[in-house]
Symmetry: C2
Subunit: 335 residues, 2 copies
């Protein structure tokens, strides 16, 4: 019985597979020629009994469990001033970006996360009414790519703390970083706190703000607390603006989610947690916390984006993704 | 910032943790005393650099990726006549049942799967109208436990091919196998094909049939094809009966899902794929394929089960779980 086939598999993967095959040959040759190379394997990478390379996502943030992907070819491995960066090709998930040991993007499944994070808030703005959008984090460019699908947006700001993530994404993750090629995009490489403070000082407001941050460890640690949410709330256009925040996994971090929800509720009238299915994030699940003065669980927008441009998000999914398992609902919103 | 807390964590886990702590001490002592014990580690189990035991779920059925859980204590390891059986305690997921290298049940997240598989079909039968139910597979007893919550059901048949799975679940997975203690349950240890054929011969029909089978490799291989679905359709009460089938993962096996959907559509008027979020199944996602002569995406039932008895399923989730990502929708139902 056939077991193959994933509807998300892109055209880029066969090219990756070809490159990766060559890479494996080269690496195996190197391995037998110069054994000491092994000690230079990037953090999180090891070989199985057959000599095949695997990336293993081990973290205190999801203790006692680990997701691993077989590597076909290591494309880049290095350190920016802020974090370790690893980019590799895999058979199943295409090209993979890892920051400080945590998977950020794979070309197979990134569409799930990027589309929900961008199109959920955009569908809460009436068609033609989103003039200015902001992405905080999201250096890979995927959320930019999704926002750029709306002709009405005049300016798309992005504030990413690590310039190396932007440059490496442009170089190695072209299908994701294509968002940067849109002339409406304005790039700021700086700390999110400082950036929000300067926007507040200049009186610049945004109709949509997407906070696409990694987990609250490493560079994003300080950004993920109450003070950050207070600043964020001040740059969201108060009447109809919408913010969407990377909302963590309900199987792993329900206390953290509750903390984020409680804080957000003190700043916005409507706050809801949407669930995203994505296999390469821990437990295959991550949230998108959506905040606005208007209700968020039903789309307001009609038009403004070509439905053919969407691969994961739909108007029906918009509402369905806010319906949570009973115990999660209770934990996130209950007394 | 606190990172702990899972809303599904049950009371049993602290006991497991205590037992597991003792187990680890014993194992580590053994390790240093009798090194050759290592060669007797069950398939899929190895030690990390710190000497800690991990279960790694490696399979050709999800090639190139692997989910691992740290083991606190191996509870049982052996072989039935049909498959390898491993039961262990883990810090994060509580007690875990593994058949032929594939995770079947963990006490943390099993509720997601069992509730959707049982309550989705039950909510498509009017209150008071489900007289007889059948579970094929599901030897752990979890689906039985959920069906037993409906007083109206007079007989709950279960056909499980591997008697050892039943006995070991009764012994080691008490919170799941509690379903067997209901006096309405009738257990048949035999092949699903033969069982369905004998039900057809005897003219016995079921209002609800839940096919809770493992992946189509190993004992469940032959059962997961068109012929099995044809037999299954013949034991479902034709007017209002409902069948629910383990529907595989859309990230991994979209071709197989399409094959199942196409075959089911030739047998039932309404066929829909519901998605289940469950971290210990590959990619954190599995499907429940629901089939009936009536529409399946909206619940018909009012009452008959105490909503307080449900931890994952709700009437709202019933409908939401049938809304799939756009590309999946296209692949599963499209031309």
């Amino acid at each position: 019985m056939s077991s193959g086939g994933c509807p998300f598999a892109g055209v880029g993967i066969s090219l990756f597979a070809a490159l990766a095959g060559l890479g494996t040959i080269l690496m195996n040759t190197k391995r037998f020629m110069r054994q000491p190379l092994e000690v230079r394997l990037p953090a999180g990478v090891d070989r199985d009994e057959e000599g095949k390379l695997w990336f293993r996502e081990i973290s205190e943030f999801w203790k006692g469990q680990c997701f691993s992907i077989r590597i076909e070819k290591i494309v880049y491995s290095g350190k920016s001033q802020l974090q370790e960066i690893l980019i590799f090709d895999s058979e199943k998930y295409g090209r993979v970006l890892v920051l400080d040991g945590a998977i950020q993007v794979t070309t197979l499944d990134e569409v799930a996360y990027q589309e929900v994070m961008a199109h959920t808030p955009m569908h809460l703005i009436n068609n033609g009414e989103c003039k200015r959008a902001l992405v905080i984090g999201g250096g890979d460019g995927g959320v930019l790519r999704e926002l750029a699908k709306y002709p009405e947006i005049q300016e798309i700001y992005i504030c990413e703390i690590d310039g190396d993530v932007i440059e490496l994404s442009k170089k190695y993750l072209s299908t994701t970083s294509i968002g940067y090629s849109d002339p409406r995009v304005k790039v700021f490489v700086e700390d999110g706190f400082k950036f929000l403070q300067s926007m507040i000082n200049e009186g610049i407001l945004f109709d949509v703000v997407v906070s696409d941050l990694s987990d609250p460890i490493g560079p994003a640690e300080s950004i993920f607390n109450g003070e950050f949410l207070e600043l964020l709330a001040k740059v969201v256009e108060p009447k109809n603006g919408v913010a969407a925040l990377q909302g963590e996994c309900y199987w792993l971090h329900s206390h953290l989610i509750r903390q984020l929800v409680d804080k957000s509720k003190s700043l916005f009238k409507n706050v809801s947690y949407a669930t995203i299915a994505i296999p390469t994030y821990p437990c295959g699940q991550i949230g998108c916390l959506v905040m606005s003065s208007n209700p968020v669980t039903v789309p307001r927008r009609n038009g403004g984006v070509n439905p053919g441009d969407l691969r994961y998000y739909s108007r029906e999914l918009h509402s369905a993704q806010f319906v949570l398992p009973k115990l999660v609902e209770k934990f996130v919103y209950g007394d």
